[in-house]
Symmetry: C2
Subunit: 433 residues, 2 copies
């Protein structure tokens, strides 16, 4: 089999460097692309609807004659839903229900308390007013992404959820529209690219400006989101998808191999890593990957992915695996062993942890309940899955009593003087003198 | 008095436009600055300690001979704390205690639940491993900023808090070091600028690479934080400080005027807005601002700030004020009226809400408890005060049972086929067939 996938062992002299090389992945920013995107944003800000329409006709070959042709009605969403085959409609409904149930558990409430001095302190939680969800068009137009972005926003109580989805040649995936209907999307525009991001960020005559934009897209979309960050909020810029599967003890090598391939089939730069202390299992998984590839429609993508970025890693023991996992901070982590829960307690960094032999990553992509928008490229070290908390924000609450403020005002007076902020000091002083 | 501050009334024909103009503030990105910052980052990545030392000697005129001269010991922090005057030490301790108490209430715990099918779902919460806190040097070297950044990280359970603070000519504010000691900062390097941000983001021989960088800085620091975003997490890029004071009913105009000036003294581009339905009070506040300015050390800054960006706004009634406040999404909001709590319930967007006549914004800067790092420039529409949640992150937990997975695996199979992801479908299918 030879070059199917690199093989590493922690016993190798060169392991540390080889493992670091495996993880290295730097996206290079292309100055030409940034310039193009900046120009599109500037033009959309200046010319609004007209420019978005023009670019949509040009880039998407959309047959629209006027901007209003680019908005879908709730009727259209509903009829897309009603037109689905029974099994697909039921699957979509089950997925939506489960995603909603999980995200409801994430919803946060405000709180207040009264301190020992009689002052009230607290944290108020409010939903964002209006958000934009970007859904890619064409082949990568996934209904599951619609659910994963729109449901948390809906659960958070966002008053207006605007979806944009490009329709190349005017064509749309009805399942995407059905998902929008189910998830509670309020308005849908069939626009895409940097022009859609600009329209959402700054608003046009027709597209209302939003407060935050989430959802995946190509490099134009990613660059545009980065450019409008600050004007609006954005979610993380997603890198290539990754899975790290750890297995020990009784396991079915065929299942594990297919789990590895389920990430590899996404993208030639996706990363699939299999780790085990069991050399026999490592061999069996390698063999099963080879066998599966023969029958996989996306075998070519998967083969490139595992050859370039995949690895089979032999470790001495479970503790070594834990250390490697915490170094990787994988987007998806499968722990396929009897003591999965126990092991998960030692995992500090991962987007989502799938435990046991009956929890393939693929169910997390669709219907387990938790979000499938997860931190990639090691960013699980400092960021979280997309969630209801991304569509809520906090305000601090402070209310002092006439007595209770005195100690605080004196303290603020002393410290403000140390910082040479005299108006601060005097403003505080008025309240205790 | 004439041009002290612009005056607007919602009854004016031109009000809408004038109010929009007041809020307009766009930071222009300077391509030369970005180029300089990119070069510094590239050089620090390549040459590590040596380059950081060189720039520190050059920009800060620091007398250090070797990189180790740029690290402070815990002994130095402790003796800075012990050397404080009693009243200052007590004020700092009270502030630290209160900030800690409030932030402890923010700490989030993980949860799990078992669904109707017998599958376990949940959310695990973990602190970041290591964070970097940027503290400006020189005049803007505020001990309060050290507390507001370090205490939430410490409460979150961050294992290593690294502070960087430039020391122009080798000089440091002892109160800043004392605050670092109190707040539980683990290591301090006397470096600053884009070179400090680069060292924290990528690590050098001596400075450990961190997972997130927070804290305010000049435009080099802001540009560097933006550039390393993705490699590490960052907090929001802060804009100029703002206050919006709303008052009605019995109030002391002098107090209100000083509250307005406490933001205006920060910066010539700070924004202070006073809103009331009471024209008499509007006149009194304007008069009091003029009087206060005569005695204020930072009168020149404050005068420029209110002349350029301040406003006195007359509204018809409270509801009009609520609508304007939600449009502004102010960083700091004072509600100086008897029904402050009732009114606060209608405020959807604000960084912090100070209620009643005994809650000047200045106590929030130092010791009320809530964080003083707040969303500026209208970003309270989609973001929150700095908090413990910025130093924690979440991982999703999924563990299916052999029976419980069946429904989910079937659903995933159907949906994965719709998305043409065959390995996903097969990986799911193994678990129910």
């Amino acid at each position: 089999m030879g070059k199917l996938m690199r093989r590493l062992s922690t016993q190798d002299q060169s392991f540390k460097q080889a493992f670091a090389d495996l993880l290295a992945f730097e996206t290079v920013s292309d100055p030409e692309l940034l310039k193009t995107v900046d120009q599109i944003i500037a033009d959309v800000r200046q010319h609004g609807d007209a420019h978005v329409l023009k670019l949509t006709q040009q880039f998407d070959r959309h047959p629209a004659h006027q901007f209003s042709d680019l908005e879908l009605t709730q009727e259209q969403l509903k009829s897309a839903f009603e037109g689905l085959d029974n099994d697909v409609r039921e699957a979509l409904e089950l997925a939506e229900n489960r995603i909603r149930e999980f995200h409801q558990a994430q919803k946060q409430d405000g709180w207040t308390y009264v301190d020992a001095l009689g002052n009230t302190l607290g944290q108020k939680i409010t939903p964002l007013d209006r958000v934009g969800i970007y859904v890619p068009g064409g082949l990568a137009s996934y209904p599951s992404s619609v659910l994963m972005n729109a449901v948390p926003a809906h659960v958070a109580g966002v008053a207006e959820i605007i979806m944009v989805v490009p329709a190349p040649n005017g064509e749309l995936n009805p399942l995407v529209l059905a998902a929008a209907y189910l998830a509670g999307v309020h308005r849908v525009f069939t626009i895409g690219g940097a022009q859609a991001v600009a329209a959402l960020a700054y608003g046009t005559e027709t597209v209302p400006g939003v407060d935050k934009i989430t959802g995946p897209g190509n490099r134009f979309v990613a660059a545009a989101k980065r450019a409008v960050f600050g004007q609006v909020g954005i979610d993380m810029i997603a890198g290539p998808s990754e899975i790290l599967v750890y297995a020990e003890g009784e396991n079915n090598a065929k299942w594990l191999a297919m789990d590895v391939l389920s990430q590899a089939e996404h993208d030639t730069v996706a990363q699939a890593v299999f780790i085990t202390p069991d050399e026999q299992l490592l061999n069996e998984v390698e063999q099963a990957i080879e066998e599966h590839l023969a029958a996989l429609p996306k075998a070519e993508i998967a083969r490139t992915s595992i050859a370039n970025r995949g690895a089979l890693v032999l470790v001495k023991d479970r503790q070594e695996a834990i250390d490697l996992i915490n170094q990787v901070a994988p987007e998806h982590l499968e722990l396929c062993l009897d003591e999965a829960q126990e092991m998960s307690e030692q995992i500090r960094h991962a987007g989502a942890i799938f435990m046991g032999r009956y929890t393939p990553e693929a169910i997390g992509d669709y219907c387990a309940g938790p979000n499938h928008v997860l931190p990639t490229s090691g960013t699980a070290r400092f960021s979280s899955p997309l969630g209801v908390y991304d569509f809520q924000k906090r305000s601090s609450l402070i209310m002092c009593s006439q007595e209770g403020v005195k100690t605080l005002a004196k303290t603020a007076d002393v410290l403000a003087q140390q910082e040479n902020l005299d108006a601060h000091a005097r403003s505080a002083r008025y309240r205790y003198q």
